[in-house]
Symmetry: C2
Subunit: 540 residues, 2 copies
């Protein structure tokens, strides 16, 4: 049985850029486009040439993609020809193989927002699409507010999309611009478009998540006949975001009837890279990945309930709707007061530590973890620190060194050239075996600039840890996150540090204190100890 | 036309507790239950009596609710009577008006996870439900894995739910336990249940968000006949979460055909409290609220695109699917390189600053904001700092004081009693007019405990700001968030500080530096200056 082709159109770089707090640089756009292309998407919308300097630069130095690289713009304004519209000209001049133009299809917007006649708008659509086609490009028409327009004035909304189709648009994309449509509205609108003479094979769907139905709305549109889905990575996008391609892709490839009925450009290998692609975007945006993200979130295959965890041990399909490996994700059994000893044993096993069933120390570890979490620690997000606590109880935590004291100073002042500078300095006193080592360091990056107290402490520590230095040389602090939380009745600061080493390991540790520097120091110490353990270093 | 009653069942305190990293205390549960009850939900599931000490305590000191307070448990085990099952007894002994028991309906789980015969499982369901009814309680049956079970062995799955119904269950709740079902699967399953003799008025739906369809799955179940929806606040819950009641409630109340067809327990006043209720849960969990959350997120009515923002100014319905006030949310026009001068003027207007259209300083402000954001500042999330930047350009920023220098020290050591302690001390030199003031402070909370360098700086500053002290006396740091981000090519630390005062104002400021202490200090200074401005203090 041959499967029908379903096309995926990514607008992360355009509609995704409308997300509050998101502002892609040229380099960001280039990296994301490459990732989208590797993933196997059919269209990559790069932005709006002429709208801002970054987008203009991005099109001037456009990436070479297997996917159809697409420029976004809007239909020409009334009172001039398509060839004489400078906004449209900037879009055409980007010389992309495809051009997507947004135009109005809701009568209210034509008269209120544009202030032109309904007839003028129809002509703008037809002339603009024809201009793109005449320029030898693939033309797409984004039918703005189509579903609201169809509800308000069905004849006019349908006339608009017919005008685009008849002018030669390869795709007429029905947009739920305000995001308020529900699945039954989408089904009705898509069916009406097909009945009005635009074939499903020429219809696309563009939804927003304002009622949390963007994914379902995309699926129902496909069921009603549409053959192109527009969306973004991680559901980025204006307001509540666009349809999340990261959720849609596995559903289309792994779930019936989609998997049997349709073929998309993403391969099974591409699917296995999905978790990585999703995290890459977060990384570029400096966002903490959403642990609850469908398919790719850190919690998506996490089994906290004791009953679930024990059934999973017998057969993972009991509580997993797909195998996590299929999307490049992994199963996780977290620690918590709801988890039983069997969860704990699995977690330790994953860290290479085997403990017999019924070992009384298991209960002690669970109790200690619980007590520490009550004080503000968060071991679910800091598995490396969890491992150290467990090792402590099991007698598997070598004493590499002790910190006797430290002092860190931050000075801000004006220097001789009247420039405002900060200087951070740390003194650390460490005991390794019988030796007492005192060392001092200023904080500095490669160019000698101050990096703050945690960096100063880390550098002073690295000096002091003489025998261990070769192991910690490639340790790098990648991120640290600070939150005020409750430790019992008092507010405390929780610091989570993500570290990396030259072997590609990445681990997270936690520190808790009312003092942000001390909380960071604790997490830093845990990170170093965990690294020494993983490298198999013997205590001096 | 009378509307049919649709019931909402909240499981935030039970299934929501399965979220990775969530661990409610007794006080948390009490606060959340009160909020759920005020909101107007019909059922509040409090937890599983006997499963852990917190849940047992919560039921022992149960809140008085207008909603039907419900205990969760599981059907009796095979080989003993319902009366002799100690797990079930603990649930019954909680003495709640309703009891919800989960039981298997998927043959594979009966034989694999439970290891009993299909017949025994049917008997366990019937006997357990009958036991609850005989105890004078309202009985609910959670049909675990119903949709997977219906696909695998439809006759058996239907036999299970009929057994519960015939034994007197008020509600038979069809659960998509693994979260893998799509809307068409849900429609089919609910219809089959109705056809098998369980009336829709006795059917509930319980979905999970593993394919990002939990909300759509709940809606389609109602369309197919179900009359109870189970879900959680903010979609909390195991793995990817449960159906999000915060998204479902406004859809059911404001969107057709639901609004005309159904009545729920939430009033329009309750609906207007929704944003607050959603934030309260985040507050209890110490989570940053999801800005993209449908209806209640900070970005849900944020209009970043310049074209959208100018249309909104003409008529908000052009780009808003509902009025934000209906759910207690608000419109927001952020600053960014995509925003035009009209957005900027609106933002300034909101801060009480009127600037004429076309004022050349508007372009200067936009440029400066853009340049600062390139260095790592984030003004969308720190509107108070944005206001100060704009005021600087407009000549509306009085010079209250200058900081000549500061020095902050953190010492960690062991005291005479061999306790590990930290001491933080700050020296700040400030000029106010012609006066040069130097002061020093240790960090300490009310009980004298160290609170770290930012607290020490804040206390030293407060001492120095003599003439302004009465104004900043009620200033309180509520939260601070730290992220590593990119300032141009270098990694820098961005600190966002949320402050509050005695008049109920809450504002956010930002500081950026490679040094976390200095970034905090900048945000702290902005916070103080903004407060002095808002209080109308004259510079000394």
């Amino acid at each position: 049985m041959t499967r029908e082709r379903l096309y995926l159109y990514d607008t992360t770089l355009r509609d995704g850029q409308q997300t509050q707090g998101v502002d892609f640089s040229f380099e960001d756009k280039t990296r994301i486009a490459a990732a989208l292309d590797r993933l196997g998407l059919d269209y990559i919308e790069g932005g709006w040439p002429g709208a801002n300097p970054t987008d203009s630069e991005f099109f001037a130095r456009a990436p070479r993609t297997r996917a159809t690289f697409t420029a976004f713009g809007m239909t020409k304004r009334a009172g001039r020809s398509a060839a004489n519209d400078d906004v449209l000209a900037a879009v055409m001049n980007a010389n992309t193989p495809a051009v997507c133009l947004v135009g109005k299809t809701h009568d209210f917007h034509v008269t209120t927002a544009l202030g032109i006649t309904l007839e003028e708008n129809l002509e703008n659509i037809a002339a603009s699409v024809a201009h793109v086609v005449a320029g030898g490009r693939e033309a797409l028409f984004d039918a703005e507010h189509f579903f609201d327009g169809y509800r308000a004035n069905p004849d006019y909304a349908l006339a608009c999309i017919r005008a685009a189709y008849q002018a030669g648009a390869r795709w007429v994309v029905l947009c739920d611009t305000n995001g308020g449509a529900l699945p039954h509205d989408i089904r009705k609108g898509v069916k009406a478009a097909v009945d009005a003479g635009v074939p499903g094979a020429r219809l696309g769907i563009h939804t927003h998540n304002d009622t949390e139905n963007a994914v379902a709305n995309s699926l129902v549109a496909v069921a009603a006949g549409a053959r192109q889905i527009q969306g973004t990575l991680n559901g980025l996008g204006e307001r509540c975001g666009n349809a999340n391609l990261v959720s849609l892709i596995p559903t289309l490839m792994l779930k019936e009837p989609y998997a049997s009925q349709f073929e998309i450009g993403v391969t099974q290998d591409g699917l296995r890279s999905l978790t990585k692609v999703s995290r890459l975007l977060d990384d570029i945006l400096n966002r903490v990945p959403n642990p609850a993200a469908p398919y790719v979130g850190a919690s998506a295959f996490t089994h906290k309930a004791g009953l679930h965890a024990s059934a999973i041990a017998k057969d993972p399909t009991t509580y997993e709707h797909i195998p996590p490996e299929a999307v490049g994700n992994a199963r996780f059994i977290p620690m918590s007061n709801q988890a039983g000893q069997s969860n704990l044993r699995e977690r330790l096993e994953a860290a290479g530590i085997t403990v017999e069933k019924g070992d009384p120390r298991l209960a002690l570890i669970l109790e200690d973890i619980k007590a520490r979490e009550d004080r503000g620690f968060a071991y679910d997000t800091a598995p490396a620190s969890f491992e150290l606590v467990a090792r402590g109880h099991l007698g598997l935590l070598p004493r590499f060194f002790d910190v006797e004291r430290y002092r860190v100073t931050v000075d801000r002042r004006y220097n001789a050239r009247n420039e405002r500078i900060t200087v951070s300095e740390a003194v650390v006193v460490v005991r390794i075996g019988d030796e007492r080592l005192m060392s001092v360091s200023e904080s500095r990056d490669e160019s000698g600039h101050d990096q703050g107290p945690v960096n100063a402490l880390s550098r002073a520590l690295a000096k002091d840890l003489g025998p261990y230095q070769s192991s910690i040389e490639d340790l790098r602090l990648v991120d640290f996150r600070v939150r005020i939380t409750n430790g019992g009745t008092d507010a405390v600061t929780r610091v989570i540090i993500d570290s990396e080493d030259g072997q590609g390991r990445r681990w997270s540790t936690v520190g808790v204190s009312a003092n942000v520097v001390d909380a960071s120091f604790q997490a830093l110490l845990d990170s170093i100890v965990w690294k020494l353990l993983r490298d198999g270093v013997e205590p001096a």
